[in-house]
């Protein structure tokens, strides 16, 4: 291993080289072992302060980060947008400056505005870790998905990965896409025509509006959550119709190779994106994604803290 981590922030996978992605994954492998032993803690971030600033609310990602931080022995502060002074009209920039003044080392932020992290990273010497910025990116999710795939297949080169669902609004799809492309995988996006834009073809992604095309030959299928609000905005008629044409169920499962992985970033809408028995079945690695998420986040925090 001859590359070293030099970034104070993790903003998006788009910015990383393939070697940097591999470094994170290799580091995460070791942290996964820590999570599996009795004492799930290491003193690596002892004395460091991490602020979890979830302007856009989240339960699962926030808990995953919190636990990762605790296992690294960091001191943690949790801030939610709704209870911060943002509600009093304080600008995001001022809020971040205040956090910095409290000697925080790392800020883990989720925000609804794309590019919010890039913006604050310019203005603070704290390390900034992106836990989601609108529909733009969710790099730790992309990394943990890739980690899961790499664990099963060894390498991503030439692997066929299909991501199904509301691609248009999905930060998970975008982060996955950049990482998979950089590591040499073949990426397919599939979903209703209103939610699966062809513009992605310009960066080398295959786009189709037909589930069968996306599943045949795929080594990995990653199903995105479909949000009911999109139905009300006129993007698709009903979740029933969505499940019929884009859901992974016993009918569509037969198009999938026997060894193919079934993934989902969670939380699952059972019997919408995929049927219950597939979600709980042997091809599903959904729960492993959650464990891997812990290891990946520990790795990201460890590498970031080392640069500050």
């Amino acid at each position: 291993m001859n590359i070293t981590w030099t970034r104070k922030d993790l903003l998006e996978i788009y910015d990383l080289t393939a070697a940097e992605i591999e470094l994170i994954l290799d580091t995460a492998e070791e942290f996964k072992k820590v999570c599996q032993r009795n004492v799930k803690k290491v003193p690596a971030l002892r004395g460091k302060t991490v602020v979890n600033f979830f302007v856009e609310p989240s339960t699962r990602t926030r808990i995953s980060f919190e636990l990762a931080e605790q296992r690294l022995s960091a001191d943690i502060i949790n801030m939610a947008g709704s209870s911060s002074s943002l509600t009093k009209g304080e600008t995001l920039l001022d809020t971040i400056k205040n956090i910095e003044a409290l000697q925080a080392d790392i800020i883990v932020m989720r925000h609804s505005a794309p590019g919010a992290h890039e913006f604050i990273a310019r203005h603070t010497k704290c390390g900034v870790v992106n836990a989601g910025d609108g529909a733009h990116g969710h790099p730790t999710q992309g990394l943990l998905d890739i980690f899961t795939i790499r664990e099963k297949f060894g390498s991503l080169k030439g692997l066929n990965v299909s991501i199904i669902g509301d691609i248009l609004h999905s930060r998970v799809a975008r982060s996955n896409m950049w990482g998979l492309l950089k590591l040499g995988a073949n990426v397919t996006f599939a979903g209703p025509a209103t939610l699966c834009p062809r513009e992605f073809e310009e960066v080398g992604v295959r786009v189709c509006h037909n589930l069968r095309e996306a599943l045949v030959g795929a080594d990995v299928v990653n199903l995105l959550r479909i949000q009911h609000e999109r139905q009300h905005c006129g993007f698709f008629p009903s979740t029933t119709e969505y499940n019929q044409f884009f859901g992974l169920n016993n009918d569509s499962l037969k198009w999938l190779k026997p060894h193919a992985l079934v993934m989902h970033p969670g939380p699952i809408n059972r019997d919408v994106e995929l049927s219950s028995d597939i979600a709980d079945g042997e091809r599903s690695v959904i729960l492993e994604q959650v464990s891997n998420g812990m290891a990946v986040r520990m790795a990201v925090l460890f590498l970031t803290a080392g640069v500050l």
Binding site: T91, A116, R174, E199
Partner: protein, 428 residues
């Protein structure tokens, strides 16, 4: 500010499209009027060999922010920036606070301009009351107050029936309409052009159709009512095509393009720098070429900056919530000379016309000319001066520009209003 009343601008290349002139010659100025140089006794000679002298440039789309938003700009600072950019006149957009939907606000702007403005400030009235697009503004009374045009810039009347009445009524007062063409339902919450980059970045997009639908609406109204509708900040190839076909049929539509739509595209946004956020947004390379073709073949007769100052606090924020707009008075000539003249796309005369005869025809004013007897409003340019733009030296109160640190070739070095140098030295 020198106020020597008699002088000759000597040896410059004089480019005056209003008279079809492009040659080395002398221009005489006496008591604020252009005169035959031979008629001046004891004039001061200002040697401008190697420079270009043109009629004073007019920017028909400037936000001076006064009254109401003077944190970002005032009439004083905005007109200083205009002078530094080579402009002798600006049309002040009416989306002030309060907006220019009453004669009182127009009077206020006129009074403040008399006291503080460096260059000529032409006022513009609103189309609708409070720019809400529901009821017509008191257009007759605004005409009496001295506005030269009408606009709801920043907003756009969505009710076509109302727009129809406004155009007809404005015609009866001889006031051209300048429209910011935008269908609000298509614009939605968009913050950048809807296309490859908005999809890759996960941002809400503004489709070209949001502009094109209203451009077409305006063409139809200009045709049926037979009146002047001017399309502000045109940005898509399709919009330019529609204007081209309409003008070929003799419909009284005109269009303006901004220097940023001539030189930048939506790809610039990938680092979320809000200095690339404006409305209409930066579009694709194909759209940019469409706008340039429109300038070249005369479809687009005006270049205007849409100078939109915002304070640092307002602009330096998340991309989604940053206000639209950039300053542009001091970079217009450098950008246009670099992108359009030095590349051979436009001749110097064609470029000068976009700032002189184009605005003069639209507004129906006796400006943009150096013929004898005209007001001595003059723009002096060094077309070959290479420099790096440093926004920290700007005369504007605001700093929101995408051009900071960029290299340009050519800029204004002197600006004369009524015979007085409002920017630049009289000595060469």
């Amino acid at each position: 500010m020198n106020t020597k009343s008699h002088y000759i601008l000597s040896g410059a290349r004089v480019v005056d499209p209003s008279q079809g002139i492009d040659r080395i010659m002398d221009i005489g100025v006496a008591n604020g009027i252009i005169v035959d140089p031979a008629e001046i006794t004891n004039p001061e000679i200002i040697d401008l060999a190697g420079k270009v002298v043109a009629p004073g440039f007019i920017d028909v789309h400037v936000h001076l922010r006064q009254p109401g938003n003077t944190g970002a700009e005032t009439i004083a600072t905005g007109t200083r920036a205009a002078a530094a950019g080579g402009f002798t006149g600006v049309v002040a957009m009416p989306n002030t606070h309060p907006c220019c939907d009453s004669a009182g606000t127009i009077e206020l702007i006129k009074r403040d301009s008399q006291r503080h403005a460096r260059v000529r400030v032409y006022t513009c009235g609103c189309l609708s009351k409070n720019m809400e697009g529901k009821e017509m503004a008191p257009i007759g009374s605004l005409k009496n107050a001295g506005v030269v045009a009408l606009s709801d810039d920043g907003r756009c009347i969505q009710d076509h029936n109302l727009m129809r009445h406004v155009v007809a009524y404005a015609k009866s007062f001889g006031l051209p309409i300048m429209d910011h063409c935008e269908d609000e339902s298509l614009k939605g919450d968009g913050v950048m052009h809807e296309g490859k980059w908005s999809v890759l970045l996960g941002m809400q997009g503004i489709p070209g159709a949001a502009e094109e639908i209203i451009v077409q609406r305006n063409i139809i109204l200009a045709n049926t009512i037979d009146w002047k509708i001017h399309i502000q900040h045109i940005s898509t190839r399709e919009s330019v095509d529609m204007i081209r076909r309409a003008r070929a049929r003799g419909i009284q539509v005109t269009a303006e393009a901004t220097p940023h739509h001539i030189s930048l595209t939506d790809e610039c946004i990938k680092r979320f720098d809000t200095n690339y956020k404006m409305n209409p947004p930066l579009r694709t390379e194909d759209d940019r070429q469409g706008v340039i073709e429109g300038l070249r073949d005369g479809t687009i007769t005006i270049i205007a900056t849409d100078h939109a100052p915002h304070t640092y606090t307002q602009k330096e924020t998340e991309f989604d919530i940053a206000p639209f707009g950039i300053i542009g008075l001091e970079t217009a000539i450098p950008v246009c000379l670099t992108e359009l003249y030095h590349t051979g796309i436009l001749t110097l005369s064609e470029l000068v016309a976009k700032f002189t005869t184009g605005p003069a025809e639209l507004l129906g004013l006796e400006v943009g000319t150096l013929k004898n007897g005209a007001h001595a409003d003059i723009t002096i340019i060094d077309p070959d001066l290479e420099f790096v733009y440093d926004v920290s030296q700007s005369y504007s109160k605001s700093r929101n520009t995408p051009f900071n640190g960029m290299k340009f070739k050519g800029r204004a070095i002197g600006t004369v209003v009524n015979g007085n140098f409002v920017f630049g030295e009289k000595k060469a």
